[in-house]
């Protein structure tokens, strides 16, 4: 028994979980082509959820701040990106990949910019006065979420909003008898790029070193003379920007968005953060991919179970590892 766990540990330990999940699903689903499609869909969803969840996880790890209003950034990102895309519809309609992608980049940049600014505002105005008081933090961020959701309703109305997609991301690649939606592939690649970027920043730069040290022991880093509170604003803004980007990508993925989008995704984001272990980027990625795969496989195998499945996954993992799969500390 010990030898088995040692071998598993050397091969990657908990990182093997998504692989194991995919293998089990392969047996249950039977058809390789649908399995491949579902796996890509799961990975794409996982990557988008990872974008939304990574900021939340880091913010909690670094400053012990749990932001229930995080979903507001996701919804705002989605709606701002959709509005920019609608405003640039002539660029999107043009028969040139350059103009198409320019419109897409503009939309994503607008969302990220909004996320950064809103994150700064949120941190300094809303959260700063209630550091270290979990009860009031939860209440205040919840209140902020209500206000944000109502603001979206006031500006964009309650009717579903159609999101335009650039032409070159429509349709699907067909490899053999496997069809992969191009947008999903794109979402996966973009998410992966962000993860690699984040990973490098966290593990190869001085700022990343400080953030990781701060997650582990904030008082010590402060005692050594670093301004963790300033660092925290930066992390918070980055997290909000990423959440807005995730929302923007989600908008393109769903193509029809409603103001309830943020609060619906919030549940998944929470589950991901809890599964992954608060405060770690790798854990969040692992949790996001597990949740993405699980909900796509089960959405195919037993559609009614899809949302409950995430809950069951979370309960199982918490019973096994009460602090999540890869806690930072």
């Amino acid at each position: 028994m010990d030898r088995i766990s040692e071998i598993l540990g050397r091969m990657g330990g908990v990182n093997l979980l998504p692989v194991a999940l995919a293998a089990v699903a392969f047996i249950l689903i039977g058809a390789p082509s649908s399995w491949a499609t579902l796996t890509v869909a799961g990975l794409a969803m996982g990557m988008m959820v990872f974008l939304m969840a990574s900021g939340l996880s880091l913010v909690f790890g670094l400053m012990d701040v749990l932001n229930f209003g995080h979903s507001a950034f996701v919804s705002f990102g989605a709606f701002i990106a959709a509005t920019v895309l609608a405003g640039l519809s002539t660029w999107l309609a043009a028969d040139s990949v350059a103009l198409n992608s320019a419109a897409l980049v503009m939309a994503f940049l607008a969302a990220i910019l909004f996320g950064l600014v809103a994150g700064w505002f949120f941190e300094t105005v809303i959260i700063r006065p209630v550091y270290k008081d979990h009860l009031r933090q939860i209440l205040i961020t919840m209140g902020a979420m209500i206000v944000a959701e109502q603001t979206i309703l006031a500006f964009w109305g309650g009717t579903p909003f159609t999101v335009l997609r650039p032409h070159f991301l429509e349709g699907s690649w067909i490899i053999g008898d496997v069809s992969i939606e191009i947008y999903r592939g794109f979402a996966f690649l973009l998410g992966l790029a962000v993860f690699v970027g984040l990973y490098l920043v966290m593990n190869r730069t001085r700022i990343g070193l400080l953030v990781r040290a701060g997650v582990e022991n904030r008082e010590m880093v402060e005692a050594l003379g670093f301004r963790v509170d300033r660092l925290f604003i930066a992390v918070f803004m980055l997290g909000s920007g990423l959440a807005a980007l995730g929302g923007a990508m989600w908008a393109g993925y769903e193509t029809l968005i409603t103001p309830a989008l943020g609060s619906e995704l919030m549940i998944i984001v929470f589950i991901v953060v809890i599964i992954g272990g608060l405060g770690s980027i790798e854990g969040t990625l692992l949790g996001a991919i597990l949740v993405g795969l699980m909900s796509n496989y089960l959405g195919f195998l037993a559609p009614k179970m899809a949302l409950a499945s995430n809950m069951i996954l979370m309960v199982a993992i918490l019973l096994w590892r009460p602090n999540g799969l890869k806690p930072a500390v």
Binding site: L135, I140, G143, Q150, A154, I271, I274, A308, N310, N323
Partner: protein, 358 residues
């Protein structure tokens, strides 16, 4: 913490609550239209619901987002049995018991799973659990009626056609112009059960157990060090508040004669409860009464006012949208945030600290 029991502010708050109780007691005679009676019954039920939430958030300091889930269990328990067994008292009682049973199972499971890990997980896990239950309920349409909910008949005593007292000609007796019919009986059923549940909870907070809870809220480590098992106490309170919420749900189901995701389970109700408990004042029980009254009144009457304001503002960009009747939550949200900043004790808590102790 100041001793709140002897300040003049505390006296005022208690007098106000007493006045509210009196108004609710005579509500059918004072406000003789259907809508007012609806408002009064809703206030009664929400007082119980908010007070039971206050037991949790105000007396232990943990935030749960699953309170509507328990409310829903109670409501659906009564609804499913009333639909299946026909109107009568047995399905109501059985439904209440079933609701409480299911609530207890969930409460114990969630409590043991998350309260021992980290208190902050608790908020997230309850939120996730509540949303999963909401989705399951709307999908299991065979049992729960899905999105449409269940319509059923209440016990015969509560039918509007039932005559409680008849005069010589066989007509319903009128007392101060109010017909003594089943509707009145239904209202007093709601009022009496709510009053009993509220008094039970009030008694609980002054019991030795309630004192231990206050100790845990004020200083968890110290309470643990003295020898109280914090996890056990928290799980117990979570179960107690779940039971109360479930019973409130049953009462609501009997009163409304309809149970659906929107009336019994939706996240909007959870937000209402949160607003009520924070605006009223956490950890006082009296605050629950004040918060519930203010919020329910705002729900029913503020919307009309805002609709009028929105029309008056027509022509100015965005403002009419923000003042539209459906945007009342926007303003309440802002009030909520400001209250948490400046008056974290809410109306009741702040007022009760005022006035010198005798």
């Amino acid at each position: 913490m100041m001793n709140q029991t002897q300040t003049t502010g505390a006296l005022t708050i208690k007098l106000i609550v007493l006045a509210i109780g009196a108004l609710l007691l005579f509500a059918p005679f004072l406000f003789q239209d259907v809508r007012s009676l609806e408002v009064a019954a809703r206030i009664c039920i929400f007082i119980v619901l908010v007070a039971s939430y206050d037991l949790l958030i105000g007396y232990t300091g943990i935030v749960s987002f699953a309170h509507t889930m328990f409310f829903g269990f109670g409501a659906y328990g009564a609804a499913i049995l009333l639909k299946g067994m026909g109107p009568g008292w047995i399905p109501v009682i059985l439904g209440a018991l079933a609701g409480v049973g299911v609530s207890l199972v969930f409460a114990i499971a969630i409590g043991l799973l998350s309260l021992r890990v980290k208190a902050i997980f608790f908020a997230m896990i309850t939120l996730a659990a509540a949303s999963v239950v909401l989705v399951l309920v709307s999908q299991m349409s065979g049992l729960t009626g899905g999105e449409d909910g269940i319509t059923y008949k209440a016990p015969d005593l509560f039918k509007p056609a039932t005559k409680l007292l008849t005069d010589d000609e066989g007509k319903v007796v009128r007392l101060w112009d109010v017909r003594l019919n089943g509707k009145l009986a239904a209202y007093y059923f709601v009022f009496a059960t709510s009053l009993i549940l509220f008094l039970l909870m009030l008694r609980f907070t002054t019991s030795p157990l309630g004192t231990v809870l206050k100790a845990i809220r004020e200083n968890e480590q110290r309470a643990e060090a003295i020898g109280y098992r914090v996890v056990a106490y928290r799980t117990f309170v979570f179960c107690l508040s779940a039971t109360m919420a479930s019973l409130a749900g049953t009462i609501y189901a009997v009163w409304l004669k309809y149970t659906g995701p929107d009336t019994a389970l939706s996240f909007a109700i959870m937000i209402d409860i949160l607003l009520m408990v924070v605006i009223g004042g956490m950890g006082t029980m009296w605050g629950a009464v004040i918060g519930a009254v203010l919020l329910v009144l705002a729900q029913y009457y503020l919307r009309d006012l805002m609709g009028a304001a929105s029309e008056a503002m027509a022509g100015i960009p965005v403002l009419p949208n923000l003042l539209a009747a459906d945007r009342w939550l926007f303003w309440l949200g802002i009030i909520f945030i400001l209250l948490v900043y400046f008056f974290p004790k809410g109306i009741a808590g702040t007022a009760m600290d005022k006035g010198a102790a005798k």
